[in-house]
Subunit: 210 residues, 2 copies
DNA sequence: TAGATTGTTAATCGATTAACAATC
DNA sequence: TAGATTGTTAATCGATTAACAATC
Protein backbone atom coordinates (compact mmCIF):
# COMPACT_ATOMS: atom_id res chain seq x y z
CA UNK A 1 0.00 0.00 0.00
CA UNK A 2 3.03 2.24 -0.21
CA UNK A 3 3.24 4.67 -3.06
CA UNK A 4 6.36 3.12 -4.43
CA UNK A 5 7.73 -0.24 -3.50
CA UNK A 6 10.99 -0.01 -1.63
CA UNK A 7 12.66 -1.84 1.25
CA UNK A 8 11.96 -0.32 4.63
CA UNK A 9 15.61 0.41 5.39
CA UNK A 10 15.61 2.51 2.24
CA UNK A 11 12.90 4.74 3.70
CA UNK A 12 14.96 5.36 6.80
CA UNK A 13 17.89 6.35 4.63
CA UNK A 14 15.70 8.64 2.57
CA UNK A 15 15.19 10.68 5.73
CA UNK A 16 18.96 10.87 6.08
CA UNK A 17 19.42 12.00 2.49
CA UNK A 18 16.82 14.65 3.12
CA UNK A 19 18.77 16.05 6.04
CA UNK A 20 21.95 15.93 3.99
CA UNK A 21 20.31 17.75 1.10
CA UNK A 22 18.86 20.45 3.34
CA UNK A 23 22.35 21.06 4.62
CA UNK A 24 23.80 21.11 1.11
CA UNK A 25 21.11 23.56 0.01
CA UNK A 26 21.91 25.77 2.98
CA UNK A 27 25.54 25.75 1.89
CA UNK A 28 24.44 26.91 -1.54
CA UNK A 29 25.42 23.77 -3.45
CA UNK A 30 23.73 23.38 -6.81
CA UNK A 31 24.73 19.82 -7.42
CA UNK A 32 25.67 16.80 -5.33
CA UNK A 33 26.98 13.37 -6.35
CA UNK A 34 26.32 10.05 -4.67
CA UNK A 35 30.00 10.10 -3.66
CA UNK A 36 29.45 13.46 -1.95
CA UNK A 37 26.48 12.03 -0.12
CA UNK A 38 28.58 9.08 0.97
CA UNK A 39 31.12 11.42 2.44
CA UNK A 40 28.49 13.35 4.38
CA UNK A 41 26.37 10.47 5.60
CA UNK A 42 28.55 7.38 5.60
CA UNK A 43 26.07 5.62 3.33
CA UNK A 44 27.92 4.18 0.34
CA UNK A 45 27.42 5.84 -3.02
CA UNK A 46 26.13 2.61 -4.54
CA UNK A 47 23.55 2.32 -1.83
CA UNK A 48 22.49 5.92 -2.37
CA UNK A 49 21.95 5.35 -6.09
CA UNK A 50 20.16 2.10 -5.47
CA UNK A 51 17.84 3.72 -2.91
CA UNK A 52 16.98 6.63 -5.17
CA UNK A 53 16.42 4.31 -8.13
CA UNK A 54 13.35 2.84 -6.43
CA UNK A 55 11.62 6.16 -6.95
CA UNK A 56 12.83 7.35 -10.31
CA UNK A 57 15.83 8.74 -12.15
CA UNK A 58 16.90 11.95 -10.51
CA UNK A 59 20.51 12.34 -11.58
CA UNK A 60 22.54 13.09 -14.64
CA UNK A 61 25.51 10.81 -15.41
CA UNK A 62 28.73 12.74 -15.11
CA UNK A 63 27.09 15.53 -13.12
CA UNK A 64 25.24 14.11 -10.14
CA UNK A 65 21.99 15.35 -8.67
CA UNK A 66 20.56 18.86 -8.68
CA UNK A 67 20.17 19.65 -4.98
CA UNK A 68 16.98 21.69 -5.06
CA UNK A 69 14.96 19.45 -7.34
CA UNK A 70 16.05 16.26 -5.55
CA UNK A 71 15.16 17.83 -2.21
CA UNK A 72 11.74 18.70 -3.56
CA UNK A 73 11.17 15.25 -5.01
CA UNK A 74 12.23 13.42 -1.86
CA UNK A 75 10.16 15.75 0.31
CA UNK A 76 7.13 14.90 -1.76
CA UNK A 77 7.84 11.17 -1.62
CA UNK A 78 8.13 11.40 2.16
CA UNK A 79 5.00 13.59 2.33
CA UNK A 80 7.08 16.31 3.90
CA UNK A 81 6.13 18.82 1.23
CA UNK A 82 3.23 19.85 3.46
CA UNK A 83 3.18 20.75 7.13
CA UNK A 84 2.78 17.59 9.18
CA UNK A 85 0.99 17.97 12.46
CA UNK A 86 1.41 15.68 15.43
CA UNK A 87 -0.75 14.82 18.41
CA UNK A 88 1.10 13.83 21.56
CA UNK A 89 -0.64 11.68 24.14
CA UNK A 90 1.00 11.75 27.55
CA UNK A 91 1.91 14.98 29.29
CA UNK A 92 4.62 13.49 31.51
CA UNK A 93 8.37 13.93 31.19
CA UNK A 94 8.67 12.25 27.87
CA UNK A 95 5.66 13.89 26.28
CA UNK A 96 6.86 17.24 27.50
CA UNK A 97 10.35 16.70 26.14
CA UNK A 98 9.03 15.58 22.79
CA UNK A 99 6.74 18.58 22.58
CA UNK A 100 9.65 20.87 23.28
CA UNK A 101 11.96 19.03 20.96
CA UNK A 102 9.57 18.95 18.03
CA UNK A 103 7.84 22.24 18.64
CA UNK A 104 11.04 24.18 18.25
CA UNK A 105 13.96 23.17 16.06
CA UNK A 106 13.63 22.81 12.34
CA UNK A 107 12.07 19.38 12.39
CA UNK A 108 9.23 20.54 10.17
CA UNK A 109 6.66 18.93 12.42
CA UNK A 110 4.13 21.01 14.30
CA UNK A 111 2.53 20.03 17.61
CA UNK A 112 -1.25 20.17 17.14
CA UNK A 113 -2.17 19.27 20.72
CA UNK A 114 -1.12 17.38 23.82
CA UNK A 115 -3.50 15.05 25.61
CA UNK A 116 -3.51 13.30 28.97
CA UNK A 117 -6.15 11.52 30.96
CA UNK A 118 -4.76 12.57 34.33
CA UNK A 119 -7.01 15.26 35.80
CA UNK A 120 -4.04 16.76 37.58
CA UNK A 121 -2.38 17.43 34.24
CA UNK A 122 -5.38 18.49 32.18
CA UNK A 123 -5.48 22.26 31.78
CA UNK A 124 -1.82 22.77 32.60
CA UNK A 125 0.32 24.57 30.04
CA UNK A 126 3.14 22.68 28.37
CA UNK A 127 5.12 25.07 26.21
CA UNK A 128 2.37 26.74 24.21
CA UNK A 129 -0.15 23.98 24.69
CA UNK A 130 -2.79 23.50 27.32
CA UNK A 131 -3.04 19.78 28.02
CA UNK A 132 -6.39 18.45 26.87
CA UNK A 133 -8.46 15.57 28.16
CA UNK A 134 -8.00 12.39 26.10
CA UNK A 135 -11.78 12.10 26.18
CA UNK A 136 -11.81 15.01 23.73
CA UNK A 137 -9.33 13.46 21.34
CA UNK A 138 -11.81 12.31 18.71
CA UNK A 139 -13.83 15.49 18.69
CA UNK A 140 -10.69 17.60 18.53
CA UNK A 141 -9.31 15.67 15.61
CA UNK A 142 -12.53 15.59 13.63
CA UNK A 143 -11.73 19.23 13.12
CA UNK A 144 -7.95 19.15 13.09
CA UNK A 145 -7.43 16.06 10.92
CA UNK A 146 -4.02 15.22 12.31
CA UNK A 147 -2.64 11.98 10.89
CA UNK A 148 0.38 11.34 13.13
CA UNK A 149 0.25 10.52 16.83
CA UNK A 150 2.88 9.94 19.49
CA UNK A 151 2.25 7.70 22.48
CA UNK A 152 4.25 8.84 25.50
CA UNK A 153 2.19 7.16 28.19
CA UNK A 154 2.95 4.26 30.53
CA UNK A 155 2.86 0.82 28.91
CA UNK A 156 -0.32 -0.04 30.78
CA UNK A 157 -2.45 2.44 28.85
CA UNK A 158 -0.69 2.39 25.49
CA UNK A 159 -3.01 -0.06 23.73
CA UNK A 160 -6.04 1.91 24.84
CA UNK A 161 -4.46 5.14 23.61
CA UNK A 162 -3.58 3.47 20.34
CA UNK A 163 -7.25 2.67 19.75
CA UNK A 164 -8.28 6.15 20.81
CA UNK A 165 -5.90 7.66 18.27
CA UNK A 166 -7.03 5.28 15.55
CA UNK A 167 -10.67 6.12 16.22
CA UNK A 168 -9.80 9.79 15.98
CA UNK A 169 -8.47 9.22 12.46
CA UNK A 170 -4.75 9.06 13.18
CA UNK A 171 -3.01 6.87 10.61
CA UNK A 172 0.54 6.60 11.92
CA UNK A 173 1.77 6.23 15.48
CA UNK A 174 5.15 6.59 17.10
CA UNK A 175 5.04 4.50 20.26
CA UNK A 176 7.43 5.03 23.15
CA UNK A 177 5.71 2.61 25.51
CA UNK A 178 7.46 -0.74 25.81
CA UNK A 179 4.58 -2.88 24.54
CA UNK A 180 3.77 -4.43 21.20
CA UNK A 181 0.68 -2.56 20.08
CA UNK A 182 -2.04 -4.16 18.03
CA UNK A 183 -3.18 -1.31 15.79
CA UNK A 184 -6.37 -1.56 13.73
CA UNK A 185 -5.97 -2.13 10.00
CA UNK A 186 -4.78 0.94 8.16
CA UNK A 187 -2.73 2.29 11.04
CA UNK A 188 1.07 2.05 11.01
CA UNK A 189 3.05 1.85 14.23
CA UNK A 190 6.75 2.40 14.83
CA UNK A 191 8.30 1.71 18.20
CA UNK A 192 11.07 3.52 20.01
CA UNK A 193 12.12 1.59 23.07
CA UNK A 194 14.65 3.53 25.10
CA UNK A 195 15.25 0.81 27.66
CA UNK A 196 15.86 -1.69 24.89
CA UNK A 197 18.40 0.62 23.28
CA UNK A 198 20.32 0.92 26.52
CA UNK A 199 20.15 -2.81 27.10
CA UNK A 200 21.60 -3.48 23.68
CA UNK A 201 24.42 -1.05 24.44
CA UNK A 202 25.00 -2.87 27.70
CA UNK A 203 25.52 -6.08 25.75
CA UNK A 204 28.24 -4.44 23.70
CA UNK A 205 30.26 -3.32 26.70
CA UNK A 206 33.74 -4.82 26.73
CA UNK A 207 34.19 -7.92 28.89
CA UNK A 208 37.09 -9.15 30.92
CA UNK A 209 39.30 -11.46 28.92
CA UNK A 210 38.32 -15.14 29.11
CA UNK B 1 34.85 -8.51 20.06
CA UNK B 2 31.44 -9.57 21.32
CA UNK B 3 31.33 -12.33 23.86
CA UNK B 4 29.38 -14.59 21.62
CA UNK B 5 28.87 -14.13 17.95
CA UNK B 6 25.28 -13.34 17.07
CA UNK B 7 23.51 -11.13 14.53
CA UNK B 8 22.73 -7.67 15.84
CA UNK B 9 18.96 -8.06 15.42
CA UNK B 10 19.23 -11.02 17.76
CA UNK B 11 20.61 -8.79 20.51
CA UNK B 12 17.65 -6.45 20.18
CA UNK B 13 15.31 -9.40 20.53
CA UNK B 14 17.22 -10.66 23.56
CA UNK B 15 16.16 -7.46 25.32
CA UNK B 16 12.57 -8.27 24.39
CA UNK B 17 12.84 -11.81 25.72
CA UNK B 18 14.22 -10.39 28.92
CA UNK B 19 11.20 -8.18 29.39
CA UNK B 20 8.92 -11.09 28.58
CA UNK B 21 10.69 -13.33 31.08
CA UNK B 22 10.54 -10.71 33.83
CA UNK B 23 6.82 -10.54 33.29
CA UNK B 24 6.49 -14.32 33.30
CA UNK B 25 8.51 -14.53 36.51
CA UNK B 26 6.27 -11.91 38.08
CA UNK B 27 3.28 -14.04 37.14
CA UNK B 28 4.90 -16.95 38.92
CA UNK B 29 5.48 -19.11 35.85
CA UNK B 30 8.10 -21.83 36.32
CA UNK B 31 8.44 -22.74 32.69
CA UNK B 32 7.91 -21.09 29.32
CA UNK B 33 8.04 -22.49 25.79
CA UNK B 34 9.17 -20.75 22.64
CA UNK B 35 5.52 -20.88 21.53
CA UNK B 36 4.51 -19.05 24.73
CA UNK B 37 7.15 -16.42 24.01
CA UNK B 38 5.81 -16.06 20.48
CA UNK B 39 2.35 -15.40 21.85
CA UNK B 40 3.62 -12.72 24.22
CA UNK B 41 6.10 -10.96 21.96
CA UNK B 42 5.04 -11.65 18.39
CA UNK B 43 8.46 -13.11 17.64
CA UNK B 44 8.06 -16.53 16.06
CA UNK B 45 8.98 -19.57 18.13
CA UNK B 46 11.55 -20.66 15.59
CA UNK B 47 13.22 -17.30 15.75
CA UNK B 48 13.25 -17.46 19.54
CA UNK B 49 14.96 -20.85 19.54
CA UNK B 50 17.41 -19.76 16.90
CA UNK B 51 18.30 -16.61 18.81
CA UNK B 52 18.86 -18.46 22.07
CA UNK B 53 20.89 -21.14 20.32
CA UNK B 54 23.65 -18.62 19.61
CA UNK B 55 24.38 -18.54 23.32
CA UNK B 56 23.85 -22.10 24.46
CA UNK B 57 21.23 -24.75 25.12
CA UNK B 58 18.84 -23.46 27.73
CA UNK B 59 15.70 -25.54 27.20
CA UNK B 60 14.51 -29.07 27.66
CA UNK B 61 12.73 -30.74 24.73
CA UNK B 62 9.10 -31.39 25.64
CA UNK B 63 9.20 -28.95 28.54
CA UNK B 64 10.46 -25.57 27.40
CA UNK B 65 12.65 -23.17 29.34
CA UNK B 66 12.89 -22.72 33.11
CA UNK B 67 11.95 -19.05 33.57
CA UNK B 68 14.26 -18.13 36.43
CA UNK B 69 17.43 -19.72 35.10
CA UNK B 70 16.89 -18.40 31.58
CA UNK B 71 16.29 -14.92 32.95
CA UNK B 72 19.52 -15.17 34.91
CA UNK B 73 21.48 -16.43 31.92
CA UNK B 74 20.19 -13.78 29.56
CA UNK B 75 20.75 -11.05 32.14
CA UNK B 76 24.35 -12.12 32.41
CA UNK B 77 24.80 -12.26 28.63
CA UNK B 78 23.39 -8.74 28.37
CA UNK B 79 25.52 -7.60 31.34
CA UNK B 80 22.37 -6.69 33.18
CA UNK B 81 23.24 -8.92 36.12
CA UNK B 82 24.95 -5.91 37.66
CA UNK B 83 23.67 -2.38 38.17
CA UNK B 84 24.37 -0.34 35.07
CA UNK B 85 24.95 3.33 35.60
CA UNK B 86 24.42 6.01 32.99
CA UNK B 87 25.80 9.49 32.47
CA UNK B 88 23.53 11.94 30.69
CA UNK B 89 25.04 14.88 28.87
CA UNK B 90 22.55 17.64 28.10
CA UNK B 91 20.24 19.07 30.74
CA UNK B 92 17.59 20.36 28.35
CA UNK B 93 14.14 18.93 27.72
CA UNK B 94 15.33 15.65 26.37
CA UNK B 95 18.03 15.06 28.96
CA UNK B 96 15.58 15.91 31.68
CA UNK B 97 12.95 13.55 30.32
CA UNK B 98 15.45 10.74 29.97
CA UNK B 99 16.69 11.26 33.49
CA UNK B 100 13.13 11.08 34.78
CA UNK B 101 12.25 8.15 32.60
CA UNK B 102 15.28 6.07 33.50
CA UNK B 103 15.66 7.21 37.07
CA UNK B 104 12.28 5.90 38.04
CA UNK B 105 10.55 2.94 36.46
CA UNK B 106 12.01 -0.54 36.60
CA UNK B 107 14.48 -0.05 33.78
CA UNK B 108 17.33 -1.29 35.94
CA UNK B 109 19.54 1.61 34.92
CA UNK B 110 20.67 4.19 37.43
CA UNK B 111 21.49 7.80 36.60
CA UNK B 112 25.01 8.50 37.84
CA UNK B 113 25.11 12.18 36.88
CA UNK B 114 23.83 14.79 34.47
CA UNK B 115 26.21 17.20 32.74
CA UNK B 116 25.77 20.36 30.72
CA UNK B 117 28.15 23.05 29.56
CA UNK B 118 25.61 25.86 29.82
CA UNK B 119 26.42 27.98 32.87
CA UNK B 120 22.76 28.78 33.28
CA UNK B 121 21.99 25.11 33.78
CA UNK B 122 24.98 24.06 35.86
CA UNK B 123 24.06 23.76 39.52
CA UNK B 124 20.34 23.43 38.88
CA UNK B 125 18.57 20.38 40.26
CA UNK B 126 17.06 17.92 37.83
CA UNK B 127 15.14 15.30 39.78
CA UNK B 128 17.72 14.22 42.35
CA UNK B 129 20.69 15.42 40.38
CA UNK B 130 22.50 18.71 40.42
CA UNK B 131 23.66 19.41 36.88
CA UNK B 132 27.45 19.32 36.67
CA UNK B 133 29.82 21.12 34.36
CA UNK B 134 30.96 18.98 31.41
CA UNK B 135 34.47 20.21 32.20
CA UNK B 136 34.32 17.90 35.23
CA UNK B 137 33.21 14.86 33.31
CA UNK B 138 36.55 13.07 33.18
CA UNK B 139 37.44 13.71 36.79
CA UNK B 140 33.98 12.65 37.92
CA UNK B 141 34.17 9.41 36.00
CA UNK B 142 37.66 8.50 37.02
CA UNK B 143 35.98 7.83 40.33
CA UNK B 144 32.57 6.66 39.18
CA UNK B 145 33.66 4.40 36.32
CA UNK B 146 30.41 4.68 34.41
CA UNK B 147 30.52 2.86 31.07
CA UNK B 148 27.33 4.08 29.39
CA UNK B 149 26.65 7.65 28.26
CA UNK B 150 23.68 9.37 26.70
CA UNK B 151 24.07 12.39 24.42
CA UNK B 152 21.05 14.68 24.62
CA UNK B 153 22.67 17.84 23.32
CA UNK B 154 22.19 19.79 20.11
CA UNK B 155 23.77 18.25 17.02
CA UNK B 156 26.40 20.97 16.91
CA UNK B 157 28.14 19.80 20.08
CA UNK B 158 27.50 16.07 19.87
CA UNK B 159 30.86 15.06 18.39
CA UNK B 160 32.70 17.07 21.00
CA UNK B 161 30.64 15.45 23.76
CA UNK B 162 31.28 12.05 22.24
CA UNK B 163 35.01 12.58 22.59
CA UNK B 164 34.61 13.94 26.09
CA UNK B 165 32.71 10.83 27.11
CA UNK B 166 35.22 8.54 25.45
CA UNK B 167 38.09 10.28 27.21
CA UNK B 168 36.26 9.84 30.48
CA UNK B 169 36.24 6.09 29.93
CA UNK B 170 32.69 5.65 28.65
CA UNK B 171 32.49 2.63 26.34
CA UNK B 172 28.96 2.81 24.94
CA UNK B 173 26.94 5.83 23.86
CA UNK B 174 23.29 6.36 23.08
CA UNK B 175 23.14 9.39 20.80
CA UNK B 176 19.98 11.43 20.34
CA UNK B 177 21.60 14.16 18.27
CA UNK B 178 20.94 13.88 14.54
CA UNK B 179 24.56 13.51 13.44
CA UNK B 180 26.70 10.56 12.54
CA UNK B 181 29.28 10.44 15.32
CA UNK B 182 32.82 9.26 14.76
CA UNK B 183 33.65 7.52 18.04
CA UNK B 184 37.21 6.51 18.92
CA UNK B 185 38.06 2.81 18.64
CA UNK B 186 36.57 0.76 21.42
CA UNK B 187 33.49 2.91 21.84
CA UNK B 188 30.11 1.73 20.54
CA UNK B 189 27.44 4.20 19.45
CA UNK B 190 23.76 3.67 18.87
CA UNK B 191 21.59 6.40 17.43
CA UNK B 192 18.02 7.31 18.20
CA UNK B 193 16.77 9.89 15.72
CA UNK B 194 13.31 11.10 16.66
CA UNK B 195 12.85 13.31 13.62
CA UNK B 196 13.84 10.44 11.36
CA UNK B 197 11.29 8.17 13.00
CA UNK B 198 8.54 10.69 12.41
CA UNK B 199 9.66 11.23 8.84
CA UNK B 200 9.51 7.52 8.14
CA UNK B 201 6.00 7.46 9.59
CA UNK B 202 5.10 10.35 7.35
CA UNK B 203 6.14 8.28 4.35
CA UNK B 204 3.74 5.53 5.35
CA UNK B 205 0.72 7.82 5.53
CA UNK B 206 -2.00 6.79 3.11
CA UNK B 207 -2.09 8.69 -0.18
CA UNK B 208 -4.96 9.71 -2.33
CA UNK B 209 -5.76 7.11 -4.95
CA UNK B 210 -3.86 7.52 -8.19
C1' DT C 1 36.45 14.21 -26.88
C1' DA C 2 37.81 12.49 -22.16
C1' DG C 3 36.33 12.20 -17.50
C1' DA C 4 32.85 11.68 -14.29
C1' DT C 5 28.95 9.67 -12.54
C1' DT C 6 24.56 7.66 -13.17
C1' DG C 7 21.10 3.59 -13.19
C1' DT C 8 20.96 -1.22 -13.18
C1' DT C 9 22.19 -6.03 -13.37
C1' DA C 10 24.31 -9.92 -11.31
C1' DA C 11 26.84 -11.70 -7.33
C1' DT C 12 27.22 -11.82 -2.52
C1' DC C 13 26.02 -11.71 1.95
C1' DG C 14 23.29 -12.33 6.03
C1' DA C 15 19.12 -13.13 8.36
C1' DT C 16 14.64 -15.49 8.65
C1' DT C 17 11.75 -19.46 8.01
C1' DA C 18 10.60 -24.31 7.51
C1' DA C 19 11.15 -28.72 8.79
C1' DC C 20 12.52 -32.56 11.45
C1' DA C 21 15.44 -35.82 14.15
C1' DA C 22 16.63 -35.89 18.95
C1' DT C 23 14.94 -36.08 23.51
C1' DC C 24 12.53 -34.93 27.71
C1' DT D 1 4.86 -44.98 26.05
C1' DA D 2 2.83 -40.89 23.49
C1' DG D 3 2.95 -35.97 23.18
C1' DA D 4 5.40 -31.87 23.35
C1' DT D 5 9.09 -29.05 22.36
C1' DT D 6 13.87 -28.35 21.73
C1' DG D 7 18.25 -27.39 18.84
C1' DT D 8 19.83 -27.43 14.31
C1' DT D 9 20.19 -28.05 9.37
C1' DA D 10 18.85 -26.76 4.86
C1' DA D 11 15.96 -23.75 2.03
C1' DT D 12 14.30 -19.29 1.31
C1' DC D 13 14.10 -14.65 1.28
C1' DG D 14 15.59 -9.94 1.05
C1' DA D 15 18.98 -6.46 1.25
C1' DT D 16 23.69 -4.87 0.21
C1' DT D 17 27.68 -4.67 -2.70
C1' DA D 18 30.35 -4.88 -6.94
C1' DA D 19 30.80 -3.88 -11.39
C1' DC D 20 29.93 -1.80 -15.71
C1' DA D 21 27.51 -0.16 -19.94
C1' DA D 22 25.07 4.05 -20.85
C1' DT D 23 25.35 8.93 -21.02
C1' DC D 24 26.01 13.66 -19.68
Amino acid sequence: MSPYEAPEPTIGRLAIYLRCLRQAAKEGLQTISSADIEQRTGITSGQVRKDLSYFGEFGKPGLGYAVGPLLARLSKIMRLDREQKVIIVGGGNLGSALAGYLGFGESGFRIAAIFDKDEKKIGKKLWQHEIKDTAQLASFNSGAGVEIGVIATPASTAQEVCELLANAGVKAILNFAPVRLKPPAGVVVRNVDLTQELEVLSYFLPREAG
